[in-house]
């Protein structure tokens, strides 16, 4: 479903991705892990069309999408939830959901907390609630592919667990998912495939503890 072949990309003269190849089969969950600065967010931006790959090929559902702008990809069924607070802080919760098109009741059932907050400005909610709201888009828009950057960043473990439940549900319903995480191994629990990224390249079979704590453990 997601297919990257030898993708290079970066900012200006600075190359961040140095030949990334990655395949996420249809209807599976892939966890992409790695330390800060490895190039994970850049990879997400290339996938979502925010940055163009300088060389290599990006395919989504078999279509070559190197040059597609982000809004077109989004309308074609790619749901990208970028790093940080991926919501519109100065719109209310209800307005945020209205932008996603779809029945808000689905979201209110899954995250009842959001229902009580629907008239509130999204930016005034806690980090966890904001992430739930951002995540709602994956539930509402019936996407073919979901890409989440730093799902658990800055969130309490309870909320992370709840969000991963949703990841599991989505995966069972046949959605193809790429979940990017910096530290949590939670992602590997629901993932069909774990990929570790360091220094702008993807390497398989790294032990996470080695990556984070050096050879000392």
């Amino acid at each position: 479903m997601i297919d990257l072949v030898d993708v290079h990309a970066g900012y200006g003269r600075i190359e961040v991705l140095r030949g990334v190849s990655l395949n996420v089969p249809r209807g599976t969950v892939t966890a992409l892990l790695g330390p800060n600065g490895a190039g994970k967010s850049t990879l997400v931006k290339v996938l979502s069309g925010q940055i163009r790959a300088t060389s290599g090929h990006v395919h989504l559902a078999g279509v070559h999408v190197n040059d597609a702008p982000p809004d077109e990809l989004a309308r074609a069924g790619l749901c990208t939830i970028p790093e940080g607070r991926a919501i519109f802080p100065n719109l209310t919760v209800a307005e945020n959901l209205r932008l996603m098109r779809g029945d808000p009741a689905v979201v209110y059932d899954r995250f009842p907390k959001l229902k009580t907050r629907r008239g509130q400005l999204a930016g005034s909610m806690s980090g966890g609630e904001q992430q739930m709201l951002a995540f709602s888009r994956a539930l509402l828009t019936d996407p073919a592919v979901v890409v989440v950057d730093e799902l658990s960043m800055g969130l309490a473990p309870v909320i992370v667990a709840e969000l991963y439940e949703v990841v599991g549900e989505l995966a069972r319903s046949g959605v193809t998912m790429l979940v990017v995480e910096q530290f949590a191994e939670t992602a590997s629990a629901v993932a069909d495939q774990v990929v570790v990224m360091t220094h702008g390249t993807v390497s398989a079979g790294h032990d996470l503890a080695t990556v984070y704590f050096g050879g000392t453990t």
Binding site: A86, R98, L99
Partner: protein, 605 residues
């Protein structure tokens, strides 16, 4: 009491018209993050078009209004968005400002070509109707204006809060990149907002015509009050913008009513919009030192001391040869070109190196000229005095607006220019009751003038390059690139800016003195507010980052009126071209000369 009521109604009516204009400004700014300096010019051209249809062609007023506000203005907005502004999204503030000024100047040129100067009365709407409130009369036009303001406020509210499109627009304001990830079409939204914004500028312009007369520049600059109102709303909030516009309308109306009518107070009244702009800017919260800075700008290479020396020698040789060859008329024109070149050198320092876009640099030229003229003779001492006075004023202005930066700083320079224009340069304080002063020249012959101007240009040019190579130059550029990093290295960022302003003003003031004695007669009309804008455009077109750019710009500035008087048909077209060129070239502040540099390095490579 009835007088108070009448002035209140009058204030609310003009405030309402400003609100319409300012609402359009805020809408376009918040959806495209490009502050449209040319907003007022769009209103001006559309008001002329309305005159053409309703008065000249005899269409019914309502039909003319619908055609202009409903068709012509939105179409024009779409064109501006598609071909100029879309390319500027995400560009530094300075670049979009210059493009906006280009649109403004170009539109004034268009208006001058299509509608040559003449009196153009415009009938107010519903002039036979009206109501009496107490003893004051509220005309039908006033009622229409108020009604329009209410409708626009309501319409914008409904658009933004009750429609999907409006919701998407607000989402784009909040987080543009995220909005794209949601699948909203950013270009379509921005085009829509420019169409609406330009329609509102047209509506406001037409509503204001019976009050202000149809005039290219006056109408264009009327928008300063709309800027102020938009700033009251922090360029975001429509309710605050509308409240601000009504408040400003009231203040101006009361000022007319209750301030004394001595000459000073009359000019003071005219300065009120600028004063209010200043007050609102000063009340803005302090801009934080920005982290996550811009990337450095590709400047033209800084010449070494040796190259500078060789270039100066070559320049001197060429000037000497010209002095021997050309007649006195041409020599005088060349001298003028060099004086303009010195003015542009002051902008190389401020804009090219310091990154500050000034919309009021010509004002310092005026200050220098007035100082020399008032001292009664042009001597090295009086020329330096002119530079010194300009430097002090420059430092004062920089100190006043120490807190703001970027767009707000540029608007502050415009406010300052208008303030100086109304309070000093255009009032008897500067050029006396006759509006002009004699200045005995330093040297009598035109050739002598050419040599003097060339000498000063070379000295100032070498000085500017020395500053660039030295400590102050490095600091200026460092502040431009990352003020946060500068602060953590122990530099007081705001003081550096005061220095830059002051030095640059001194150079402009020096040029002003030279200008005064070269002309022998200087008049208030030489230093009108509007002259600031072509100056900025020529600076950017020719190249605001290099001394050669200043020289080329000076020549172009001198040639403009020469060409205009030689080919009268060309006059307006030249202004249009100037605007278009600036809007197109704004992306590259290194300007035309850098193409020359590039060709040169390419050949050598």
């Amino acid at each position: 009491m009835t007088a108070l009521l009448a002035y209140t109604v009058f204030g609310l009516v003009t405030g309402g018209a400003y609100a319409v204009v300012a609402g359009g400004l805020v809408l376009t700014y918040s959806t495209s993050k490009v502050f449209n300096v040319g907003h007022g010019a769009i209103g001006m051209v559309m008001a002329f078009l309305y005159w053409e249809l309703a008065e000249n062609r005899g269409l019914p007023q309502w039909l003319a209004l619908v055609l202009v506000v409903g068709v012509a203005a939105p179409l024009f907005g779409l064109v501006v968005e598609r071909f100029i502004m879309r390319r500027l999204v995400g560009a530094p503030v300075g670049i979009s400002l210059v493009a906006g000024v280009g649109v403004l100047v170009g539109l004034i040129g268009v208006a001058q070509v299509i509608w040559p100067p003449q009196a153009r009365p415009v009938r107010p709407f519903l002039d036979q109707l009206g109501v009496h409130i107490g003893q004051s009369f509220v005309s039908g036009h006033d009622l229409i204006t108020l009604l329009c303001a209410v409708l626009v406020a309501g319409g914008l509210y409904v658009l933004l809060n009750r429609t999907r499109t409006g919701l998407a627009m607000r989402a784009c304001v909040d987080a543009p990149e995220l909005a794209a990830l949601y699948g909203t079409r950013p270009h379509r939204l921005s085009a829509l907002s420019w169409a609406i914004g330009s329609a509102l500028a047209a509506l406001g312009g037409i509503l204001l015509t019976p009050v202000v007369q149809l005039d290219y520049v006056t109408m264009t600059l009327l928008v300063i009050t709309a800027y102020t109102a938009a700033l009251v709303g922090r360029l975001r909030s429509l309710p605050w913008t509308f409240a601000g516009a009504l408040g400003l309308g009231l203040v101006q109306s009361y000022a007319v009513a209750y301030l004394p009518s001595s000459p000073f107070w009359i000019s003071f009244r005219a300065a009120i919009p600028a004063l209010l702009l200043f007050v609102v800017l000063l009340a803005m919260p302090q801009s934080p030192l920005r982290i996550g800075g811009v990337r450095g700008q590709r400047g033209v290479a800084v010449p070494t001391a040796l190259t500078t020396g060789i270039a100066a020698g070559l320049f001197a040789a060429v000037v000497l040869a010209l002095a021997l060859l050309v007649d006195s008329v041409v020599a005088g024109q060349l001298a003028l070109a060099l004086v303009f070149g010195i003015v542009l050198l002051s902008m190389v320092l401020l804009t090219g190196y310091g990154g500050v876009v000034s919309l009021g640099q010509f004002t310092f030229v005026g200050i220098g000229a007035v100082t020399v003229a008032r001292l009664g003779s042009a001597s090295p001492v009086s020329l330096l005095a002119g530079a010194a006075v300009a430097a002090v004023v420059g430092a004062l202005i920089a100190l006043t607006v120490l807190r703001v930066s970027g767009l707000y700083l540029a608007l502050a320079t415009l406010g300052f220019a208008q303030l100086m224009d109304k309070l000093v340069l255009q009032s008897p304080i500067a050029f006396g009751v006759r509006g002009s002063l004699q200045v005995p020249p330093v040297v009598g012959s035109a050739t002598g003038q050419l040599l003097v101007a060339a000498g000063v240009f070379v000295l100032v040019g070498i000085g500017v390059l020395a500053i660039r190579r030295g400590r102050l130059g490095r600091r200026m550029i460092a502040v431009k690139d990352s003020s946060a990093a500068c602060a953590t290295l122990g530099l007081n960022v705001r003081w550096i800016r005061v220095w830059v302003f002051s030095l640059s003003a001194a150079i402009a003031g020096l040029a002003g003195g030279l200008f005064a004695q070269l002309r022998e007669t200087v008049a208030a009309s030489d230093f009108q507010l509007f002259n600031n804008l072509p100056l900025l455009l020529f600076a950017v077109i020719a190249g605001v980052t290099s001394v050669s750019g200043a020289l080329l710009g000076g020549v172009l500035l001198m040639l403009l009126p020469v060409l205009q008087s030689g080919f009268p048909a060309f006059a307006g077209v030249a202004v249009v071209l100037l605007g278009v060129a600036a809007a197109g070239l704004a992306r590259d502040p290194n300007g035309l000369v850098s193409w020359g540099f590039r060709a040169w390095t390419w050949r050598r490579a």
